[in-house]
Structure formats: structure tokens, C-alpha cells
Symmetry: C2
Subunit: 456 residues, 2 copies
């Protein structure tokens, strides 16, 4: 290939190195802020998880006890390597962080922790942080799409691809040039790891994967700044990532409308804290409750019209005995929506053993719906029929689950979710989360990114 | 499988956790000491390499400026994570560290740096360090054999398998029980990475691979101590290492005569600092020079009887212009052996542009030898015919290259190699290396492993 048509890895590196704030459409920047806030709240919500605390203890033992970057869950300061590692470990644990459907990749968990840590360490501006995050999303999502379904069968894409996304993000904050960025990609790809085998044992590896993707990507970028070189074709080379870790890699995906298509804006928010199969019906019931101004006491019977997969997965869960099980109980999810309009982490914790919730549960049932079932899995349609105590029969319908790009969260909804997540583990107060929200909404005007939460 | 016949990953973990000093035959312990000294000298020889210095600068920027573990190339103290990382980066760069032929794995570079760092951090005994290293070698070599040739085609085994070897080594020093050791293996395997793609660009990734294998394995073991869990079947599971990174994995290799066959003792030393294809002839000439008490001025003509591969690779190098090229020049290698009896790093540096060496070079030529060629590659036979200035025709033959298990280095030869490597980069004085040699030969009696070299 000529200099004008570099090979894909080089073209991605060039894009990431040369991306300017002015190139990014305003809605994409706003969405990046939304995703950042959503990520920070997820990190705080993960503060008490055993696996996260183990990684934080390890980071405290091996890393410096002071430095320019903040570990959000403990508020301590250290070097960006360890702040990125611990914050990324915490970002994914409550499973409320974002997801890009096409790449099956959770970008926020591996992009924002290193972005924040390095921006703090270097005193970069809010704009710099946003550009770096957008670069990380655009490259990471395309690499995930490139490596394809065969990769995802064995490898945890958020771990593997996350390493490259993190490297690009940090590389942008370090102002790496295109050549250095290519070396950073090379050093990131040769560290990329993460196997799904842990799922079989419900082991803690998922937190290690996000922690290490953030840390290793950061390492790759800093090493590139030091003149350390990497493979130039780590993605497409004969002994590169696709050769070793994919059988259906599609090179066309790597540069798909680079600079025109903004993959960041395709990213979905997770709204309810429950099994994804419950979301369409939950969204439809939420809409019915709002539209007809219903209270839970108004409900006589609710039928959720669902696809067969929902019946298969959720049908057996009649009387949930654990918080985790209740997230797979359609009755519990709909009861929470009916009572408070939300089914978040705190609601699930409180619902266990709650007699009112148990009483409401009997009013909900699932029915196979031919239209919903045939549209699945391309479209996740939500339909409910509500019979009220005063004899009305009401219908509600949602064509795309709440949080997906076509039915995304409004800023008030994002704020509400952030408040719920942020205080969930008592890692921050409501006032601190409100301050955080203000700071993120004003990020573009921030001259130097500093600590986002006061020291404890 | 029953408790008495655990699955292979669990059996390896159990072996590593329960291995006792008393179980290890004395010759294996002595060989472990040999390999440790050889590794320490390799680390010192790599001190000035650009890639190593970049990793050391990164470690200094991100890690603590004090701690219980020593970075050998700078003598500074830090936490074991960073000492292991930098020392492992340096161990492989001059390509004089050990190799296990069957697994195509360089164990020393990824086993001894974390072993030393953690032994220093925890004040463990010399015996503890030896047991930990043996455990790391035995497990790592078997995992390398298990993943097989298909793995090595794309993945750099010393990087991938090295992560597990390092985890086992550190896990042993942390006194992990079998269950914790299994979790350490799981967390190591899910971090295992390293692609050969960098070779195409002569990039620096090889140093990153050893550095990260040591660091990530250490991380896995410390996390296991913190209660962090990993996949129980990271090697053999349906979404484990073999499933994702090998097509010819042979489970029988994993537990091959565990506790009876000592794979550590099969490991080869690298003797000459030149291309492996020059070694058999160099060994044969060295034998002729010694046996017949020849000096370089006695030589009229020397014929090296070689395999076709040696002619293919070395034939084109007639007038080497760089140090690297001269390591592929049979004439240069044999000239160095004739003059000083050795072809080490320092001899190659000095030979470049040396008129005496250039003059000698013309006395050596290669000839295809049917016996040598047909034995290759199973056996690397060395044969030379020497015609002396006084008209004698002398023959010499070596059936196994110097450094391989059947023709291994004696302690004086290991000491000599250590002295050469140790002072090569001026990272230590000859007196310091002699002190190091004494310390390693007395390792078994050391109550607490401390810094091996005085602070600068």
C-alpha cells in the first residue's frame, strides 16, 4: 500500500493521532459526556465488590501511595497506571456500563478509566479527554467488529480489544504522532488477552480483564512515547491478532467510514439492572404507567407479550430466592417498575423478601407473541396489555429497548441513573454525585482535569 | 474426575503447591542454581538495550521509588512487580538465556526475575527460591509442550506460557495452597499473550513479552492470595488457552511424569553468542584447538562439515558489516574460537573491523556433509577437519552442541560465561560478579534472600 493508502493498522493509528476536537460532531461529544458520567457512576457502584477490592489491595501494595491520579472507589491518589487499573476493575462489575451491540464490546470500562487517570496526571483539558475517549471508542469498536463472532466465542472482547482502545485513548492524551500510535497499537495488540473460560466457574476474571486492558493499553502508549516499537500490522499481519484469535476477521470493518460514522454514538446504555430479556416488557409497562398515570394499586392484571427466549429463560423463575435470581424474574422486574418506575440495583436489593413486591408479582404473566417472537433477535419489541382495577384495558408498545441508540436515555434519565449507581455502594454522597454531574456537563470548558471527587 | 484424579490444571496446581525441597534431586537443584546464575548474568548483559531502558523508565515513572526488591540493571529498589518486570525485560535481550528445546520456551527469563523479586520482598530462603523456580520450570515447560507447535506458529510461547510459569513460581513463594494455586493459574492463563508479528518489523515486543509474563504471572499469584478466583480449567477448558490458542494441544504432555521427570534438567544453555547454525562447528573447532594444543597461527585451513541449512543461512555472509551480521558469519565465529577460545558478546563487538579476524576468516570454509545433514535437525553434529601449517590433518567431532543436556556446561564454564555477560554492559564489576557467583553457589544455605548486588 502507498502512503496515501496505508494498511489498516496504520490508517487507524493515523486517524487516532490526528483526530481534532473540531472534527467531532457536537452530538457525539455530548454522548461521550453521557457515557463518561455513566461509567463513573458504574465505577462507584462497584466499589464494594470483593474482586474489585482484591485488585485495589494489590494496587496499593505494588503501586505508589501518592501521585496525580485518583482511585475513585477509595479516593486515594497514585500513578495513572494503578488508578486506571482499579477504576477499570470497578467499572464493569455491576454490569450497568455501556455496550456496543455490533462489536459485543463494553468500551466505557476500558476507555474512561485510563483517559481520566492520564488526563489528571498530565493536566489535560476536558476537550483533550473527550477527543481521546472518542478516538478510543472509534478504534476499539471497529477492531471488535473486525475480529468478529469467532473471536468472541473464546475471547472476552472487552479484555482483548479493550487493550487497543485504552492504548489509543492514552496515546491521544500523550499526543503521540501517527508513527508512535502505530507502535502503541502493536504493543497493545501483543498484550491483548482474556478468555471466557472463567464463566464456567463464575470466577472473578471479568474484573481482571477490564483492569488489565486499561493498564496494558496505558503501558503500550507510554512505552511508545519512550521510543519502544511494536508490530506495524498487529491486527492484520500473518502472525497478528486476527491470525491467532479469529477465523472470520473482516478487514473491511476496520476502517468502516472512519471519521464519518461515529461508532461511539451507536453505544447502548443499560437501563434496568435486570436480565436483558425483561427489558422490552419493562419499558412498555413503564410507558403505560406514565401515559395513563397509573399507580401500582391500579393494576388488576398485566400481560407481557414476549418472545420464546424470554419464556425459556425467565419462565422457571417463579419465586426468586436471591437478588441475582430476582433479576431473572419477570414478575419482580415488572413489580418494581409498577411501584417506583425503576428497576435499578438498589430496588433489587430492597425487593428481596419484600411482601408487597411478592404480592404484586402474581399480577404479571408472560404470553408468547408471534410478532415479538418473529422480530427477535434483530429487534427487541416490548408489548404489554394492562387491565386496570376500574376495568380499562390499556396497551403499550416500545419498538427498541430503552438505552439503545434509537431509544436512548435523556440527560435527566442519565442523571437519575448516575445518582442511583453513584450512591449504591456508599462510595459517594448524593451531593458529590450532583457535583460530578455538573463537572461532566461542563467538561468541555475545563482547562485541566483534576480529581473528580474530594479526597476522603 | 475424582479428587484422586483431578483434571490437568488442578493436578499441576497441586504439584506446584505441594512440591517440597526434599522431593527435588540434588542434581536438579544444582542445575537450578546454574540457570539462575546464567539468568542474572543475562539480565546484566541486557542493561544498555534501548528497549530495556524504555521499560525501566516506564517502571520508574509508574512504580514506587523504594521497596524490598532490586532492579538489577540500575540497582534501585522498588516493589516486586516492577523489579520482576524490568529484570525480565532485560533477561532475554542478548539472547544468551536458556532454552527448553521440546517446548521452545525460555524459562529462566520469566521464572527467575519474579522469583528473586518476591523472595526479596518476603525474605524467603534460598531453598524457597529454588523450590519455587523448579515448580515454575516444571509447570511452564509442560504447558509449552501441551500447547504445541501450532501455538508457537503465532504465539510467542515465552510470553504466553511464561505468564503461567511466573504465576506458579510466585505462588510457591507466597505458599499458596493447591486451590489458590489453581486460581493463580486461571488468572495467569487469562492474561497470557504475545504474538510473533513483531518479528517482521524487528520491533521491541520480545522484551515486553518477558516483562509482562513475569509481571502478569506475579499479579495472578498475589491476587489469588487476596481471594481472587480464576477459571479452574484455564488450560483444557472449552474456552480456555488450548481452545483459543492451539490446534494440536496434547493433554498427555501436561502431567508427563510429574515429579519424576525433571524438565528443568533438560534445559539448554546458550554457549556461543552466534547463530545456532554455527555452534556445532564452533564446538568441534574448540575441541580440536584444545586437544591438539593449537594456536590460531597453527591453522592453514579449516573445513567445517555442515548441514545444508547452515550453508543456506550462513553462506551469503562473507564480509559482515555489523555485529549482528558477524554472528551469522561462520568465518568470524571460527576465527574468534581459534584466537581466544570463545565467541561471546564482547568478542563479537571487538571483532568488527578487526584486521586479524578478517585475515583469519579466509582460512575457514563450509562443506556439505551427508552424515551431518541427514542427522539434522534431530541431532546437530559438529565436525571439522583442520590442516595445520606444519602439514598435519586433524579431525574433531562433537555429537551434541555445547550447552545441551548431553553436553552441558561445567560450573567453571558457567562461571566464565557469567563473568563475560555480567561485565559486558558495565552493569557490574568483575568482583561483583564473583560475589554473585559465590552467593548463588551457596544459595541453599541462605536464610533470607536479599539484594544480590550492592546499591549504587
Amino acid at each position: 500500500m502507498t502512503a496515501n493508502h496505508p494498511h489498516p493498522s496504520a490508517a487507524l493509528a493515523e486517524f487516532a493521532a490526528n483526530l481534532r476536537f473540531e472534527d467531532i460532531p457536537a452530538p457525539v461529544l455530548r454522548r461521550a459526556e453521557d457515557l463518561l458520567l455513566d461509567c463513573l457512576a458504574s465505577i462507584l457502584a462497584g466499589a464494594n465488590a470483593r474482586a474489585v477490592q482484591a485488585i485495589e489491595r494489590y494496587a496499593a501494595a505494588m503501586g505508589p501511595a501518592s501521585g496525580p491520579a485518583q482511585v475513585l472507589i477509595t479516593r486515594r491518589q497514585t500513578t495513572p497506571l494503578f488508578a486506571a487499573m482499579v477504576n477499570a476493575a470497578a467499572a464493569h462489575v455491576v454490569e450497568q456500563d455501556d455496550v456496543h451491540n455490533g462489536s459485543v464490546f463494553h468500551p466505557a470500562a476500558v476507555v474512561f478509566p485510563p483517559a481520566l487517570a492520564v488526563a489528571q496526571a498530565l493536566g489535560r483539558s476536558g476537550k483533550d479527554l473527550l477527543v481521546a475517549a472518542v478516538a478510543g471508542y472509534e478504534v476499539g469498536i471497529r477492531v471488535g467488529e473486525y475480529l468478529g463472532r469467532s473471536h468472541y466465542k473464546i475471547f472476552h472482547t472487552t479484555g482483548t480489544v479493550g487493550t487497543l482502545a485504552a492504548a489509543v485513548t492514552v496515546g491521544r492524551l500523550l499526543n503521540l504522532n501517527a508513527e508512535q500510535m502505530l507502535h502503541a497499537l502493536g504493543s497493545a495488540g501483543t498484550q491483548a488477552a482474556g478468555l471466557w473460560e472463567f464463566l464456567r466457574d463464575a470466577a472473578d476474571s471479568k474484573q481482571l480483564h477490564t483492569a488489565k486492558a486499561a493498564a496494558d493499553g496505558l503501558t503500550a502508549a507510554y512505552l511508545a512515547q519512550e521510543g519502544f516499537t511494536g508490530a506495524r500490522r498487529i491486527l492484520e499481519g500473518a502472525q497478528g491478532m486476527a491470525a491467532g484469535m479469529s477465523t472470520d476477521a473482516d478487514p473491511a470493518r476496520l476502517l468502516d467510514r472512519l471519521g464519518q460514522r461515529w461508532a461511539l454514538a451507536e453505544t447502548s446504555f443499560k437501563y434496568h439492572a435486570s436480565c436483558r430479556h425483561t427489558h422490552p416488557a419493562a419499558d412498555a409497562l413503564q410507558q403505560a404507567m406514565r401515559e395513563y398515570k397509573l399507580r401500582d394499586s391500579d393494576l388488576a392484571e398485566v400481560v407481557a407479550h414476549v418472545h420464546q427466549g424470554a419464556i425459556d429463560v425467565l419462565g422457571p423463575v417463579v419465586d426468586p430466592k436471591t437478588v441475582h435470581q430476582s433479576k431473572f424474574s419477570m414478575g419482580t422486574v415488572l413489580a418494581l417498575i409498577a411501584r417506583s418506575g425503576r428497576a435499578g440495583l438498589a430496588e433489587f436489593d430492597a425487593a428481596l423478601g419484600d411482601q408487597d413486591v411478592a404480592g404484586l408479582r402474581g399480577k404479571f404473566r408472560m404470553e408468547l407473541d408471534p410478532e415479538v417472537d418473529s422480530a427477535y433477535p434483530e429487534r427487541w419489541i416490548g408489548k404489554v396489555t394492562v387491565r386496570t382495577t376500574d376495568g380499562r384495558v390499556l396497551h403499550a408498545r416500545v419498538d427498541e429497548p430503552k438505552g439503545d441508540p434509537g431509544n436512548t436515555l435523556s440527560r435527566p434519565e442519565i442523571e437519575e441513573k448516575a445518582l442511583q449507581l453513584g450512591v449504591y455502594a456508599q462510595a459517594a454522597t448524593e451531593a458529590e454525585i450532583r457535583g460530578l454531574i455538573d463537572a461532566i456537563w461542563n467538561l468541555e470548558n475545563l482547562a485541566h482535569v483534576g480529581a473528580l471527587l474530594p479526597a476522603k
